[in-house]
Symmetry: C2
Subunit: 169 residues, 2 copies
């Protein structure tokens, strides 16, 4: 610390539940997640983009919560912040590797629905298993009441972040 400009400085982040603590913890968690994701993707010969796309497809396809509809290239484009060309290339790679199938929608034939192949499920499981184990290990150290608090916080946090998303759009 060079004690530079900012008059708000010299807060040694001593408050363990202060904003600073949260910022540090959340940032670190994000970094770790990303590093793990990237490492796994690399091991599988995939790119981080491919991995993100695959997970988004799996989520949409198996989770009726998201929208009930399977993923489409267009939605992926928005969700991953890619251009159309990049989405096509990414899906080409995933399809060539046998992780997904493209299926023309019967109703609107401009639309392509993205379905995962069974192999992709295994891949996702392999990816999530260690993360799940870690999460479970952490969960195990808290009482049900405490877990409820944590879940509530995460939900609130997500709601705020979603808000932030719209705000800047």
């Amino acid at each position: 610390m060079s004690g530079s400009g900012a008059p708000t400085a010299s807060l040694p982040a001593e408050d363990p539940t202060g904003l600073q603590s949260f910022a540090v913890l959340l940032r670190r968690m994000n970094s770790e997640f990303n590093r793990i994701a990237q490492e796994f993707a690399q091991e599988q010969g995939l790119h981080l983009t491919d991995m993100q796309a695959l997970i988004a497809i799996l989520d949409a396809d198996s989770d009726p919560d998201a929208a009930g509809e399977p993923m489409t290239p267009g939605r992926l484009r928005g969700q991953l912040n890619l251009t159309s060309g990049a989405v096509t290339a990414c899906l080409d790679r995933l399809e060539r590797a046998g992780h997904i199938r493209r299926v023309r929608d019967a109703g609107d034939r401009r639309v392509v629905h993205l379905h995962y192949a069974e192999a992709a499920r295994g891949l996702a499981r392999d990816y999530f298993r260690p993360l799940a184990r870690s999460t479970d290990a952490a969960r195990g150290r808290f009482s049900p009441e405490e877990l409820e608090v944590v879940v509530r916080f995460l939900a609130e946090m997500n709601a705020e972040l979603a808000l932030l998303r719209r705000h800047s759009a």
Copy 2:
């Protein structure tokens, strides 16, 4: 959900503090963070990689907690999972844009220390401000005792993730 292989299936994630809920919440949070980071980077004409590098440099340079030492290309390489060429290119971009300076270490002259320029601080502030606001908004809805629980959970989670990192290395 096609009710495939796994005998652990058919958990409709009804348990609001179950592992499933945590997985979904954490994953979503991670995605949002990444999307926000990427959008911001794009607005600034930077890449996500550059942004991550810049933050790592800022953290190391201003946070004595990390190591006391400023960041170096070598450490960045490990932290961001890049090759040497990519690190050099990334630092070239950041230096050209005036965000960082490269300074040869006096003691070991093979080593380059990375320091941020003042402009970079402003950039980081602009990046973190909305995130801080969101975090604060969420924080505001919890009692001090509850916040303590959340912080403890995040810390535990990070500890587990760090463990995971070593395990796979």
